[in-house]
Amino acid sequence: MASSGDEDQVPPGDPVTVSTLVIDAGTKIMQRRLPVKQMNTHVSTFAIYGGDMSRQIETHHYIHRVNDEFLQCAVFASDHSDAPLIGIEYVISDRLYENLPQDEQKLWHSHAYEVKSGSWAYPRLPEVVASPELKNIAKTYGKFWCTWQIDRGDKLPMGAPELMMSPQGVGQGVLRPELVKRRDEKYNISTDELKQRRAEIAEPEWINPMADYWKQHGKCFVLDIVTVEMNRNEKFP
């Protein structure tokens, strides 16, 4: 793979030349970037590849709360300024989730365990400020497509997206302790302490059995790239 300089560099590439820096500075001043400015909340958490649950990753979600029942998140591999953008997660309320058809529901995961276990954390934010939001998130479901598999060594985003699952308290959903420890040390977080503080957050009365599909069905979902013939009726080219 062609790369310049550092062989481990992800992604590969030369440093930015002056001319593109000028436009960056220029654009920062002139453009309002309203959509990305809405992503004003940072969450550190973990996710697991649905198709291979031995692969667990730390994720950094940058969240736009669109309304009381919907969030859209850009997901990065770290919180550094050069963090790779690795996917998108959408988060919806239980009410919206219950109205989805079953085949759609199977693609989503629950958040109750992730919140109550302390995995889902807000770096640099006092827990008391996060508390109302946590009660909301605990009842939601998420759908997370990973578009760049950094953890398997991809220096560029390759192949089709993968469906991700959330940490759970059983079986292959249990996070490896060293993964959690590393996150905790980096961000001065104590997952155990968060878990204790969140004990009073109500468990959802019911988690839909279609969510976290692997738990009760032992199956996962992968995406196949299929070839589609162009419409032969269209004048072409």
Binding site: P12, G13, D14, V16, T17, S19, T20, D24, G26, T27, M30, Q31, L34, V36, K37, N40, T41, H42, S54, R65, V66, N67, F70, Q72, A74, H80, S81, L85, I88, Y90, I92, L96, L100, P101, D103, L107, R124, L125, P126, V129, A130, P132, E133, W145, W148, L156, P157, G171, Q172, V174, W214, G218, D224, I225, T227, M230, E234, K235, F236, P237
Partner: protein
């Protein structure tokens, strides 16, 4: 279930009426969190997304199906950008996908199987379909010249144009406008975009003269143009990989 499904399974979320996404307005308590986080958290990766371009994209499985896109990109280095893609440039914009953009040099290092999923950018830049709102052409020129030689891979994760009020189904692979029948952007789409942003694509075209595409035209990118085949994603339920659970 495939990204090429014309209509997802019937449910409230795919009835076209009503706002997208569905959901009640934000409560005060959660609005307060927003203010707290804005003050205390650092949002470094998001702050890097300083490049805004507006263009059009087509569905790989049906290039006649076309959408306006607003791309917010972070130029990570001279050869790579990563971008969040939205359907508009307002604070209410929907996050509809991710696009990665690589230089010719990086693109040539990919396998042909991977290259098939990528598209070129020269046509949309030369025809001023791709514009840089609020940034004068003179300032934008160096970046446009760079982008014109690049290749992109764009996964659309929310088919709003299909009427989906929530992101349903699986991602779709998108392709770029091309100078062939299905790849030319419908004039009414361009007109709507131009009017909304006070732009005239026509009058920008002369400034794009002399902007050239990749040094060597890759024969695998824009796969559908040469081979009349697009790509869609199909979701397959399959056995889980057997690994010993922890502990």
């Amino acid at each position: 279930m495939a990204s090429s499904d014309k209509v997802p399974v019937a449910c409230p979320a795919n009835h076209g009426e009503g706002k997208e996404p569905m959901g009640d307005p934000t409560k005060t308590t959660t609005a307060m969190l927003d203010r707290g986080t804005a003050m205390m958290q650092s949002l470094k990766p998001i702050r890097q997304m300083s490049l805004h371009v507006c263009s059009f994209a087509c569905y790989s499985h049906d290039p006649g199906c076309q959408i306006e896109v607003h791309i917010y990109g972070h130029r990570v280095n001279q050869d790579f950008l990563q971008c969040a893609v939205y359907d508009s440039n307002s604070s209410k914009a929907h996050l509809i996908g991710i696009e990665y953009i690589v230089s010719e040099k990086l693109f040539e290092s990919l396998s042909p199987e991977e290259q098939k999923l990528w598209h070129s950018h020269d046509y949309e830049i030369q025809k001023a379909l791709l514009v840089t709102p609020r940034v004068p052409e003179l300032v934008a020129k160096p970046e446009l010249k760079n982008l014109a030689k690049s290749y992109g891979k764009f996964w659309c994760t929310w088919q709003l144009d299909r009427g989906d009020r929530l992101p349903l189904g699986v991602p779709s692979l998108m392709v770029s406008p091309q100078d062939v029948n299905l790849g030319r952007i419908k004039p009414e789409l361009v007109k709507k975009r131009d009017e909304e942003h006070g732009i005239s694509s026509e009058s920008l075209k002369p400034s794009r003269d002399g902007i050239s595409g990749p040094e060597k035209k890759n024969l695998v990118a824009d796969y559908w143009v040469r081979f009349r085949k697009g790509f869609a994603l199909d979701v397959v339920e399959t056995d889980m990989k057997r690994t010993a659970p922890f502990p």
